[in-house]
């Protein structure tokens, strides 16, 4: 078996990969390139095709059409055991009849690598489980099993490490801790990681590049900051964090900005932050970028002001308060305010105006569901 193991990861390329299951299409002609050494996250709700993508890369599922290239080499049609990739499974899938050490050494033994037990022990020490080497998987906690699964994959130094929601079964605190460890290990070993998750915080926290998937295709791809700052579709705007979205017809368009009219208010976005400049478009803003005022604010053209509206809900979440404001003819607008004061600065039912800087607006390429173009 001639598997080419790159010392520092290889790049992954998917060309027009399509996967059809009886009755539905799981992946629609997907093109994807992940450079070597990158931490790449596929993010999306369940059923969006992210796990199918991972399984196709691992060889556990065969694509209907298209090509999979690892390190420039076409691996389409090869069996899982012939591919230089390893997977950390969501269920961990540790072998119950073997010790932890033998579990980790399994891949090395299959490839007849010299000194498998010593290398396995080193990998266990990397995930700080050297003391548990002689135990059985059933004797470990979920978090420990997860680390064994990671060690079992990492010890092979695969060109590409696939992570299938490996932290999904862990509680929140352990999950955050494992995220930090996983990221540190990735930086240390320098492998290419393909991480599949539905947890947007996890994806943004760990990945260099995030691809948001929906209904079998990638909606948007980029660095976490740019994805969050400038979502291009309604799906991304709502799946990745929260957004206030406003739909209206373009009433003003100049070199710098584009404005729509919604319920008697003018909502403006910078032209370079808007995907569409004509017709019926959607402009949004993140809740933490907006502030509210007790009286109508006197702000210049560099601000958007909507209101007045009534505060209908206040939710205390610790670091911030989330205010839900119902503005006539516009709908509900969410505003996050840091809890820097002593108590909520406004009361339920109070009348407020909402404002934000035009530069924080973003214009989407499509419209939210229920606002389809006539």
């Amino acid at each position: 078996m001639a598997i080419d193991f790159k010392p520092s990861g290889a790049d992954l390329e998917l060309i027009d990969v399509r996967k059809e299951f009886p009755g539905f299409v799981a992946l629609e002609d997907m093109d994807l390139h992940i450079p070597a050494g990158e931490f790449f996250a596929l993010l999306g709700p369940s059923g969006c095709g992210k796990t199918t993508t991972l399984r196709i890369v691992a060889g556990l599922e065969e694509q209907t059409t298209g090509q999979v290239l690892i390190g420039g080499k076409d691996v389409s049609g090869t069996k899982p055991h012939q591919r230089p990739v390893n997977t950390v499974f969501q269920s961990y899938a540790l072998f119950p009849h073997m010790t932890i050490l033998e579990n980790v050494a399994f891949g090395l033994r299959q490839r007849k690598v010299e000194d498998p037990l010593k290398k396995a022990m080193d990998a266990l020490n990397l995930v700080e489980l050297g003391y548990a080497a002689q135990r059985r998987p059933q004797q470990l906690s979920g978090g420990q099993q997860q680390r064994v699964a990671l060690a079992r994959a990492l010890v092979n130094r695969p060109a590409l490490l696939l992570l299938d929601e490996p932290l999904g079964a862990l509680d929140l605190k352990l999950r955050r801790q494992m995220q930090i460890e996983l990221k540190a290990i990735q930086m240390e070993v320098g492998l290419t990681f393909l991480h599949v998750t539905h947890d947007q915080e996890e994806a943004m926290d760990m990945a260099d590049t995030v691809a948001v998937m929906n209904k079998g295709r990638i909606e948007q791809m980029g660095a976490p900051e740019s994805l969050y700052d400038r979502p291009k579709t309604a799906f991304v705007a709502k799946f990745l964090g929260q957004s206030n979205l406003f739909v209206g017809n373009v009433v003003d368009s100049n070199a710098a900005s584009v404005s729509i009219e919604v319920g008697g208010h003018k909502i403006t976005a910078p032209k370079n932050r808007a995907e569409k400049h004509t017709g019926k478009i959607c402009i949004g803003v993140r809740p933490e970028k907006a502030t509210f005022h007790r009286s109508a604010p006197k702000l210049g053209a560099d601000h958007v002001v909507v209101g007045p509206g009534e505060i209908i809900d206040i939710r205390f979440t610790g670091v911030s308060n989330q205010y839900l404001i119902d503005i006539p003819n516009i709908g509900e607008v969410t505003v996050f305010a840091q809890n820097v004061g002593i108590s909520p600065v406004v009361e339920l039912g109070e009348k407020v105006w909402v404002s934000w800087k035009v530069e924080h607006s973003f214009g989407l390429a499509d419209l939210p569901a229920g606002n389809e173009e006539e």
């Binding site: 556990l60 899982p80 899938a93 072998f95 399994f106």
Partner: protein, 304 residues
């Protein structure tokens, strides 16, 4: 005790709360009484009988207790071919049943996992033969393989066997009958183990560079070993003592007699009760030793 191996579960013993000790004992009583009356008493009686000698009066079938250990050396000398044949048949038939049952149980327990209706149907088919007495089924095989039957006519016409040869009465016919009759006892324990087998481990194995053969030998087989042990024991033990298939009234002949055949004829035809008893005790002892060695060497201490 080795017989714990019949249970598939590796459940560990729990110490019951001592307060309910009286209730536990009360619940155990029927079982203990049953075992005492219908297992230990006959066993004791059998051992006593195996040491008897012919009565002075010289009547046929009359014996008195004499601590006559020579009965054992007598049966070993006289019945050595049958003893060897019994364990030879049992070994071959057990291996054959395993080779047939494992793929079948794998298919039902793993491949049909998501097809409950088909799975139930297949399981019913495995158990279905039990609805008819195994004596009848064995007789049916006898008539199917009789020299004048269609099957044998075809065999003769194809030149696979000479007209002077017979299938019935051969080693192969007896082993065939034994395998056939005991296959469900192999399939069911294998099925219960394979049904719970986590197929995601197959993907993990493949992902870790093991080809399908290696995945089978390194993952599937070791994990399903408890089922294999249960099945082989459930099949091997009764086959070693079987007296039906090898009988000349069924699939066998004088050349295929097993220990069971000899016990039957000594008890019922020759009225040689001490020899029959000694042979029975011997068979039991050999099986216990074999089973204990087997379970121990299979490395499944948790079964013991």
């Amino acid at each position: 005790m080795a017989f714990a191996a019949f249970g598939n579960s590796s459940a560990t013993e729990h110490k019951g709360p001592t307060k309910s000790g009286g209730i536990v004992l009360a619940l155990l009583m029927p079982g203990l009484i049953y075992l005492g009356l219908f297992f230990f008493t006959p066993l004791f009686s059998l051992i006593i009988t195996s040491l008897e000698a012919p009565a002075e009066t010289g009547g046929i079938g009359e014996y008195v207790y004499a601590f006559n250990v020579e009965n054992y050396s007598y049966v070993v000398q006289n019945y050595l071919p049958q003893i060897i044949r019994s364990f030879y048949y049992a070994t071959v038939a057990t291996v054959a049943a395993l080779l047939i049952s494992y793929p079948l149980a794998y298919f039902i327990g793993v491949k049909l996992r998501n097809r409950p209706l088909l799975k139930s149907l297949m399981l019913t088919l495995v158990i279905a033969p039990f609805f008819i007495s195994f004596l009848l089924r064995t007789i049916a095989w006898k008539s199917i393989f009789s020299d004048g039957g269609a099957v044998m006519q075809l065999v003769y016409n194809l030149g696979l066997m000479k007209p002077s040869e017979h299938f019935l009465g051969s080693d192969f016919a007896v082993i065939f009958g034994l395998t056939y009759n005991f296959i469900p006892f192999m399939t069911l324990p294998l099925y219960t183990t394979l049904e719970r087998f986590d197929v995601r481990l197959l993907e993990a194995g493949a992902d870790l560079y093991a080809n399908p053969y290696k995945v089978f030998t390194k993952v599937t087989l070791p994990i399903t070993t408890p089922g294999i042990i249960s099945g082989t024991l459930l099949v091997f033990i009764p086959i070693a003592g079987d007296y039906v298939n090898a009988s000349r009234d069924f699939l066998g002949s004088a050349k295929t007699s097993m220990i069971g055949t000899m016990v039957e004829s000594d008890f019922l035809q020759n009225w040689d009760y001490p020899s029959a008893s000694a042979l029975s005790v011997l068979l039991m002892a050999v099986i216990v030793i074999l089973v204990a060695t087997y379970v121990r060497s299979a490395g499944t201490e948790d079964l013991l």
